[in-house]
């Protein structure tokens, strides 16, 4: 019994921690539930790309999606509008500023060499080597401890770079990022192996500056520059009216479930209801702590996990009732009820978790969100049913014979007549059965 009381206080602590988390952390809801920011960007032509074709738009969309995902903004929508615009919807307005800065940069990396302009002045001319020839970019430091951006070219890029540096021995090669000169080192010898570094010129890079460049380079350059032409906050895609109604409906539904549990399972039903409320609090706190951007898909996962949590309780109570009908005392009945229900709860939840892990690893957007909330829900529901419900049952009912069968929704006449419980000797020992 002492363990049970310690466990009770552990549960209380977890609940308090969860409530604090809920109050401290913001809720992240998806576009479908709260809306967010809607940006429209327009592709602009350049000398190199004089016309915006569908192919350019596809590449632009891909690059933008890549970038937004790198930002860690979940559940973002990017779609083409008209011929040369993209509509980007981002949940959580707070991310907007960062997102805008990110979208504004084309991240064009260019390598240029010295040349002569039409009037004989010195200019930088294009060499054909650009960010498209990159395999990846990493952040590192050079021998003097300065932050530098390391570049690794792909196959074709390595060759171009080797040829270029061979031609330019003794001359300067300039590296431009978004039209801005980053550095212009003098090439002393041809560079083979497809690796290069960008140092921040004389002043050097700030850490954040270099990190941003690395992120942008890895996310991929935009094929053309794009400017933001529209910027609004939007209401939820599911319609504010629908969501308000569904909220009420959800509360009605859950209340009916709770009443049903009490009506059918009596006192244990009430205990299950309390366990369910604790379950919801813990799960919600987890969603906030991770944080999970909740969309309707996520809420579907949540509802399913509530269903499974209720199911775990129902399984346990049905087994406990069977044990009581067989004439067991309370402590034994509760223990063996839990124990017998456990294998089915464990196996069914394990398959759900396996499914979720695979869906999460391989799925995209909505599928990922669903898998994550369901998996979290199932894990917490196992804890809730096995630990919380069991602990409360033992603390409330204690040991001894069942004096008031109606507390379990049983009749006195049913006791001792029912199903002949069978177990092995080992199980008898475990449940503490002496008959």
């Amino acid at each position: 019994m002492k363990n049970k009381i310690i466990m009770f206080w552990v549960i209380v602590l977890i609940v308090i921690a969860s409530i604090v988390t809920i109050f401290v952390k913001p809720t992240k809801l998806g576009l479908d539930l709260v809306g967010g920011s809607r940006l429209v960007i327009e592709a602009e032509t350049t000398k190199a790309v004089p016309q915006i074709t569908q192919d350019v738009m596809n590449r632009l969309q891909f690059a933008i999606e890549n970038r937004v995902n790198k930002l860690g903004v979940a559940e973002t929508v990017v779609q083409q509008v008209g011929e040369k615009r993209l509509l980007i919807e981002i949940p959580n307005v707070t991310d907007l500023k960062e997102a805008k800065a990110f979208l504004g940069e084309t991240a064009q990396l260019e390598f240029k060499k010295e040349g002569k302009g039409p009037n004989g002045e010195q200019i930088w001319v294009e060499t054909g080597l650009t960010g498209q020839d990159l395999a990846k970019s990493t952040l590192s430091t050079d021998s003097t401890g300065q932050w530098v951006v390391s570049l690794e070219f792909n196959g074709a890029g390595s060759k171009k770079f080797a040829d270029l540096t061979r031609d330019l021995v003794g001359q300067q090669m300039a590296i431009f990022f978004d039209g801005e000169l980053q550095s212009a080192p003098v090439i002393r010898e041809p560079i083979y192996g497809g690796k290069a570094q960008i140092s921040g010129g004389d002043s050097g890079f700030e850490y954040s500056e270099a990190e941003r460049m690395v992120n942008l380079l890895n996310a991929g350059a935009l094929p053309v520059p794009a400017k933001i032409v529209e910027e609004n906050t939007v209401g939820p895609t599911l319609g504010a009216d629908s969501i308000a109604k569904s909220k009420t409906a959800g509360i009605i539904g859950l209340s009916i479930v709770m009443l049903f549990m009490i009506a059918y399972y009596r006192l244990p039903g009430l205990i299950a209801d309390i366990a369910l409320m604790i379950y919801s609090v813990i799960l919600f706190a987890l969603f906030k702590a991770i944080p999970v951007t909740l969309t309707l898909a996520g809420i579907a996962g949540f509802i399913l996990s509530i269903g499974m949590a209720v199911d775990a309780n129902i399984l346990i109570f049905e087994r406990t009732k069977e044990e009581l009908r067989a004439g067991r005392n309370l402590f034994t009945a509760i223990n063996s009820g839990f124990d017998r229900a456990f294998t089915s709860i464990f196996d069914s939840n394990m398959t759900t978790i396996i499914t979720c892990v695979i869906l999460y690893l391989l799925g995209t957007s909505i599928v990922k969100g669903f898998a994550l909330t369901l998996a979290l829900g199932v894990i917490v529901s196992m804890f809730s049913a096995i630990t919380i419900t069991k602990n409360f049952m033992h603390l409330i009912f204690g040991t001894g014979e069942l004096k008031y069968p109606q507390l379990f929704g049983l009749r006195k006449s049913e006791i001792g007549k029912g199903f002949e419980a069978s177990e092995t000797k080992r199980e008898n020992a475990r449940f503490g059965i002496l008959d």
């Binding site: 609004n232 269903g307 394990m350 398959t351 869906l359």
Partner: protein
């Protein structure tokens, strides 16, 4: 032994009937799927919404405040006028919004309506403008633009691949914890339930023009999750009873007893989940109705299949094996 042989439903005796009922339940939907796959554009067996196809966004500026009941009214009015599943969002122009919006002058809110493709300056646009003119004073059409799909083929292919691998995972896990037979029956149970739900939506698409949206994928995943969960509980009981009674009772009797012992739990679990979903269906928002309906159908059929389909399959397979064994023995004796 009193309780264990007392039955409410005799699964094993009428197993042919149960399988026939399953076939009857699945037939109309399957026919609808095949019919739609042949007749629909792109040969997709379901009517797909603008999430998959793309569509048109119309933006209207209005100089008044808009609350939830206004949106609800506009939605009903648009649907009454024959605009299919309009997606309505309210936009608030931010302070530094662009010249394009500023030129229109004093606009408080922008109503954004997404629907299937309609051309600029066509009857479709006029129809929507007409409805909005009734609901708001002087709505101004700011822009009409076509948008691409938010859910591409990629997502679909990706989800199918993920689901196939998840099925493999389930088969492996259940083969280890139970037997390969049970794993196969559970997977067939999932297929049974998903086919029913997808078929039902194909039928709804044909007769009521119901379109599936991005949420449908989620609903189907929920059905998969519930289906296998429900089946395992019944199988777990069979596994447990086999441990204690395999010498005293035949496999069929054990299946019968197990299904009946878990019956109260099966019904109660489905009932509690259905209660929440029914509340959402009848009192919840319009935009999620089809999503909730898919889950209701899935959970109802999932309960049916775990009792009357998966257990029956396991029983039939076990019988086959037992019939083969004596035959093989007698053949060996000759």
């Amino acid at each position: 032994m009193a309780e264990i042989s007392k039955h409410i439903i005799d699964i094993v005796k009428h197993r042919v009937i149960w399988l026939c009922i399953s076939a009857l339940l699945l037939l109309p939907g399957t026919v609808a799927l095949i019919y739609s796959a042949i007749h629909n554009e792109n040969h997709i067996p379901l009517k797909v919404g603008i999430d998959y196809t793309g569509g048109t966004i119309l933006q209207y500026g209005v100089n008044e405040d808009i609350n939830n009941s206004d949106i609800a009214k506009t939605r009903t009015d648009l649907e009454a006028a024959g605009v299919e599943t309009p997606m309505i969002q309210i936009l608030h122009t931010s302070a530094n919004s662009t010249a394009e919006n500023e030129k229109i002058g004093n606009i408080k809110n922008i109503i954004s309506i997404r629907t299937k493709f309609i051309g600029e300056n066509t009857d479709g646009v006029n129809k929507i403008t007409e409805v909005l003119s009734k609901d708001y004073s002087n709505p101004e059409l700011i822009s009409v633009s076509s948008v691409g799909p938010t859910l591409g083929n990629e997502l679909f292919k990706n989800s199918l691949l993920a689901l196939t691998l998840a099925f493999l995972g389930i088969i492996i896990y259940l083969s280890i914890r139970f037997k390969f037979d049970y794993a196969l029956a559970a997977i067939l149970g999932i297929a049974h339930d998903v086919l029913f739900v997808v078929g039902a939506f194909s039928l709804l698409g044909i007769f009521y023009n119901v379109q599936i949206d991005g949420l449908f994928i989620t609903a189907v995943l929920t059905v998969v999750g519930f289906s296998v969960h429900d089946t395992i509980v019944v199988f777990d009981r069979i596994r447990e009873n086999l441990r204690y009674y395999s010498k005293k009772m035949s496999f069929g009797e054990i299946v019968n007893a197990s299904v009946n012992q878990t019956l109260a739990r099966s019904i109660n679990t489905s009932l509690t989940t259905l209660l929440t979903l029914l509340a959402l269906y009848f009192f919840g928002g319009v935009t999620t109705k089809d999503f909730v309906l898919a889950m209701i159908l899935g959970i109802a059929i999932g309960t049916y299949s775990s009792i009357f389909f998966c257990s029956v399959l396991v029983d039939i397979w076990e019988d086959r094996k037992n019939n083969k064994t004596p035959a093989a023995k007698s053949a060996a004796a000759v």
